[in-house]
Amino acid sequence: MNQKQLATSAKNTWCPGCGNFAILNTIKKVLTVINEEGFPLDKIVMVSGIGCHAKIVDYIDVNSYYAIHGRVTPVAEGIKLANPDLKVIGFAGDGDAYGEGLEHIVFAAKRNIDITMIVHNNRVYGLTTGQYTPTSPLGFKGRSTPSGTAELPLNPLELMLASGATFIARAYSNRMDLLKRTFKEAILHKGFSLIDVLQPCVTFFNTYEYYNKHVYELTSHDSQIFDQALKKISEWDYNSEAPIALGTFYKIEKPVFEEQILKQKTKVLDRNLKIKETLANYI
């Protein structure tokens, strides 16, 4: 399996220069590598929401559920619960994961279900032509807020930390090597992982220059320590000018939800017999 073989018949319709291309190319590479290392591609499932980001599932020839806006996470969770042998990767937008359906990442993190969420965070609603999202800076002028927003952005990674996520990272589409390492690490992590990928939207919020100036890669960071993670995560609040750390902020081990659920399962040999027995209890 090579990257070419991962292509589909779909025509790519992202804007030239969009940060999504790097995400697409990188995930293809990572899937290829994982596959070469022995994990079968047919055990990979991609899930996406609705938005520019979401088109990624049309562009990669692996199993996928192209779902609805804001609901990537529960779909991914359901797939994982159906078959814990699969690697389930969710591709969400910032409007998607941090706005419309914010509750789901909180609960997936709380459960520590072993799925990976890749958030294409362009800090704007791309596909609906440029409204502010939960991570847009204060005063952002979008089509629903022509005089500028009146709210500070969320720091989604701080929220993830507070929710009990066991793997939290930030990457930047324009730093493809780190992107690749982070994707792989997250996918291989056992437990809930979320990567906030800074993904410039050249059309509605072109942040390349800004990020190029401010990003740096975490070094000598102990990702097992909550306080260190928090410190680095809160260094940049998605609003003020500050250094923007990239890399894995937090990574710990905790029991995963699906195993707890499956523990409760037993093998039933004859359902009809069991129904009979159950009914007998109700006489």
Binding site: N63, S64, G78, K80, A82, K265, R271, E277, T278
Partner: protein, 550 residues
Amino acid sequence: MNGYSILIGGKAGDGINQAGLLIARIFNQLGYRIYMYYDYPSLIRGGHNFSIVRATKNKVGTHQNQIDFLLALNQDTIDLHKHRLKKTSNVIYDSDGVKSEGIGIPLKTVIQDEKAPVISRNSCLIGGFCKAAGIKYNILEQVFKKHISRDIELNLRVAHRGYKEVKELAKIRILSKRPLPLLTGNEAIGLGLIKGGLSTYIAYPMTPSSGLLHFLARIAKDFSLKVIHPENEIAVMLMALGSSYGGEKTAVGTSGGGFCLMTEGLSLAGMSEVPIVVMVSQRPGPSTGVPTYTAQSDLHFVLNAGQGEFTRFMVSPGNAEEAYYWSTVAINISWRYQIPSIILVDKTLSEGVFSFDKEAVKNLKEEKPILWDKKQPYKRYLDTKTGISPLSFIPNKDAVIKVNSYTHDEYGITTEEPQMISLMQDKRLRKEQYLIQDLEKYETVNFFGDKGSSVALLCWGSTKGACVEISEKFGLRVVQPIVLSPFPVKQFRERLKGVKKLISVENNSTGQLVRLINQHGFNVDEKILKYDGRPFSLEELESDLKKVIK
């Protein structure tokens, strides 16, 4: 109807549902068929709860206003229900707190004597009732031993005290029928789904659907089910679709408000053609309404829920056997056609207790979905004659399985081409045509009473019970469509042959089934509607009926 009605009442927290069930089980042992109605407001302690147990020779499915025994744990029970008493009725009450005619038992004193918990007052009362009704103590003992898990010795002791306190006033006849399992509608649905291969149930609690969640969670281990209760109904539906796409036969359950939050996912199921079974149990709306009471007022909402047009299967069973049977059908059809199947019930059916006769139900099997034969490269949305595209499951080395909420091509890739849009819409709708044919082999429209009568009652779901029973008295025909989507026009027309006067009986304020049959060119002559949150009692329906048939 050659049987008995026993009402037991008290406060929430007095264990009235459980007490009613114990009485029902005692009659069950005596060979009676059971229907129990349980009435409770939305609170946890206090207020007024009551159960009416009907024990009859032949199965019934509704309660009567008039009762033979009134068992009162508190004064309210007397005050609120004494109008139900006949001359021959007996009252048994807690003489430590209640003023009434009839037989008093000092329940409080007894349990204090025995150092039994307050809740065991009802055991004592049941003991007294058994004696009064001439039911042997050993029947009580047998039932208690099987069905009381905690403090059984204490309970038996206080029951025996009750038994001794009272004189025999009647002699309930023992019938020769074998006892049957007593199931709530929710439990029957659960077992029917299991029979159809259910492997995962996902729900968020909401009265009156929660009973299904609790039941399946309780028996999960026995059937190796995954039972999940996530953050909200949106997550429920979307997780369920993920699970189903992952190959697990998955169902969800809710009531109106929760169903609202599932509608977007339902439409996704329609487009992505991922099977899903949805149990919706109705209660009076709009909005929170009267959450522990009953209504049939969501028919058109559920029938039309979700944007766009897609095929859905919907059934509305009218008793436990139908609930069991049609739940199996629902899951089978959902997977065969890759469409949503909806089981639409209401509080009356969900929480009502029925004698369940499995032998009376045609035995169904879990059906295999239509699977990919591997002859051609896999296309998830292959356009076929029936509109059904063969399934393949993850992982499959030879198939990439892409499902999509956008309009898509056969492979599952998004499209905006006009021809493909129409073609795929046709494909999805075509399934309905085949489903209609397929359904011809089922009895989709039930038929009771005097089948030759030119006056017919039209009902659906839980109102069936009252209609069938009253029809015997009036010599009426009863027509009950069970399948509501796709509407079984052909069978319905046959059932109506020769009907001159059609009277609909519904637990809502506008006549929703009437509106549905109107769409198919049928009309009714009269509507009997009740929308105070309570099901029809036999007597109420009788008096309403008398107003429209002369």
